[in-house]
Chain length 468, copies 2
């Protein structure tokens, strides 16, 4: 990201910035623009369809699991706080149409149904994502829940309180599915996770996902792989009673859908804005919608450039949404900032297991036609003799011949996940695994063996590349 | 580091590699060379003055403190294991002279006193460091201990078992002094630490060292700053009874000297090998002693290049010694590898406080004439709402105008120290703080706020640079 230029207005007229979507990307953009330009220079109107702003969707599993005490803890900034900062925030107001040629949006009050056009000078699309809902009978039955929004989380908690049965089926073994499975274990449910992949956590290669599989079983979760859901079966009163799959039928008092999200870009599509292969908006480095000088987009509704593969990718993560918001707000506020792209870093936690990845998996490398070497090493989180040292597995991919780092996956316990950040920086810098072997990483017995696990992997990968 | 070339011998004659010093650098070099060349091609003789090989000096405070159970846990590889791998290891044998022109060393049996010359084809100097001993009366009195070697550690434990008094004075508040102070608290001692600096942990700027000061006081350690030791006072039987300083006199049943180490290069000096301003051997990228084709040096007896300042520096750390050993062993074994330098990363732990630094401190930046901006931010180790989130302070230095990252210091609790690795990689890659703001670091509520503390610091530093 970069910021240059000045933040003062142009001809003295008050411009209007309209923001569609009141979550991380939208409200970060609005807040940042407001810091750069006062209300006399820039009017900021933000439309949000729901009841909340700026909440941490990533925290919902921990709220449901009882580790986080109450919904309000997940709200970074309330609507009232945004309004106090001079943002005209309109909750329960849905934008139903964008007219880029006329520079206006049509907004409708969700409750009254009344609507009107509002002109804009600058527009920010932060419409987020919508959960993938299986096109199956019963998918909307009572007892079937998504976990995208705070309203979803509250609805699920209400169901938990009401439901007497204690059998849950989670569809999808990505990080949200796995986190929700653990949350439901904490709530006293028997949990079955059904997934079409060969191992849980498809963000990892299957050989690493196998370790997550074992940890889930250790928690008492039943993991069903290679199974396609064929129907959600309902009983008396239309409530869910089971999930049918190509493998077997699983009784369920509660079903969680964790099969991912897609960019919410129907408005953008109707307005003729450019969408990519994954259905997300396409932007330039400054998060400006391609071909539209005065429209920006960020968060879960855009595609981003993967700096390792060189291809556009869909990565709906809160951390990117926040960065997008900063960049957009800076640019909409008269400065200049850029978001170069991602390297594909993601971390998560299943019980005491820490899971991390960055860069390309084997299948990503194959997809973009890269030839690679792969190594997997076992090490420990601390010096072997220091109390609490725990095992850690690091898998590393390097490009054949050049030795360029392509990706890292880590599964371990305390201290494992954030080690992936070293690889994320190395990927950003385009380092080779050979160069990585000389990295001056912190060493002290409570924190690392004398050769950090990432360095052990780099050494082995470098040897493999040399021999290739 | 890099490795190229092949590991096969030249003319078929068996060459002899002589290694002086049996700790991390020396034995890593010997082991690595042995992996590349078999005994038929390369004879390897290693001389070690003491009783042990390949031990973790960094672990001694934890052994003394009782967290690590027994000396043997600190030994990575025993003399017997080295011998089984085909290394002719000679313990209790001291090299007393190097004759580079004649390609031979003179070695003496420490116990019998008998000695002889041994020719070499290739020589590795890994003579390590010697503790700085204050030139004061009483510095060698019974009850005064250093903590460099396993023998030192054992002698200290013997003293702990014998000494009835429970008052300890630690001279020096660097990381070894502070770790030893904590170890002695665990052993039931009342501990006073005396240091000439304005705050403990001089590897940090004083504003960050102040936090360590508070944590030490929280443990019950008395920290005396700005005090010079003027004498070590002895009582009946010549045993230590107090430490006299410019500040006051502190009664002591036990004194630990933690005032640092100097390169052990007397042999090298006498042999006319090149030494730097800090008294360490000067080598090239391949860890070859400058001007000497067949002599390498590594570990605590060499100076290393600081990649940020561009100057030679003395950094006696086990992690570098291990890397040096790998590089030397590869080169002595007929391959090619390099050690480009360090960025000055160091991490340590005081009670539950994690302390980390990398790159330049303010005084380092001033010394090399760099103009810099500095920012300090407060953040948390996890999402604020996630249980166990703890405060973390990050200080960042960036070069004025260019925005190049110069250094990072972190003080926090769980999860703080290893975050410095991100900055270590960024320093190695020569990144600006602006570039760092876009780094794709891992985010999930159990591991980080949505803006990682390092990114928060980078954002603030980038803003400061832009405004400068």
């Amino acid at each position: 990201m970069g910021l240059n230029g000045d933040a003062r207005g142009g001809d003295g007229r008050t411009e209007r910035l309209v923001v569609i979507g009141g979550d991380a990307a939208g409200m970060s953009a609005a807040s940042r623009a407001r810091r750069l330009k006062g209300p006399g220079e820039l009017e900021i109107v933000a439309f949000e369809r729901g009841h909340f702003t700026s909440f941490s969707a990533c925290g919902i599993p921990y709220w449901v699991g009882g580790e986080v005490d109450g919904r309000d803890r997940l709200i970074a900034r309330t609507p009232e706080e945004h309004r106090q900062r001079g943002i005209d925030l309109r909750l329960r107001t849905e934008v139903t149409e964008i007219d880029p040629a006329g520079r206006r949006v049509h907004a409708r009050d969700v409750d009254s149904g009344s609507g009107s056009w509002m002109p804009y000078d600058k527009l920010v699309l932060a419409t987020g994502a919508r959960p993938v809902r299986p096109d199956l009978p019963g998918a909307d039955a009572p007892g079937v829940h998504g976990v995208q929004t705070l309203d979803d989380g509250q609805a699920l908690l209400d169901t938990l309180a009401r439901t007497r049965g204690r059998r849950a089926v989670v569809v999808g073994a990505g990080y949200i599915g796995v986190e929700m499975a653990e949350a439901l274990i904490h709530r006293g449910f028997g949990v079955t996770v059904v997934d079409r992949g060969s191992e849980p956590m498809p963000t990892l290669d299957p050989d690493m996902g196998r370790m997550v599989h074992r940890a889930m079983e250790g928690l008492g979760i039943t993991m069903v792989n290679d199974a396609e859901v064929t129907g959600i079966l309902t009983g008396p009163q239309g409530r869910v009673r089971a999930v049918a799959t190509t493998h077997a039928e699983y009784p369920a008092d509660l079903v969680i859908l964790g099969i991912g999200v897609r960019p919410e870009t129907s408005l953008a599509r109707e307005a003729g804005l450019p969408l990519g292969a994954h259905g997300g908006l396409l932007t330039d480095l400054a998060m400006r919608v391609r071909g539209h000088e005065n429209i920006w987009a960020g968060g879960d509704c855009v595609e981003v450039l993967n700096l390792v593969s060189g291809q556009e990718q869909y990565v709906p993560l809160g951390t990117h949404a926040n960065k997008h918001g900063q960049v957009i707000g800076t640019n909409a506020g008269g400065g200049y900032a850029t978001f170069p792209g991602v390297v594909g870093t993601a971390v998560s936690k299943v019980c005491d297991l820490e899971i991390a990845r960055t860069g390309l998996r084997e299948k990503d490398a194959r997809r973009v036609g890269l030839r690679y070497e792969t190594v997997t090493i076992e090490s420990t989180s601390r010096a072997g003799y220091y109390p609490g040292a725990s095992p850690m597995t690091v898998k590393m991919l390097a490009e054949r011949r050049t030795g360029r780092l392509l990706g890292v996956q880590i599964v371990g316990r305390e201290g494992a996940a954030k080690r992936v950040d070293v690889a994320a920086v190395a990927l950003t810098a385009g380092m080779t695994v050979e160069q990585m072997t000389a990295l001056d990483l912190g060493y002290a017995p409570p924190f690392s063996p004398v050769w950090d696990p990432v360095l052990v992997a780099a050494r082995k990968a470098a040897a493999r590349v040399r021999a290739s």
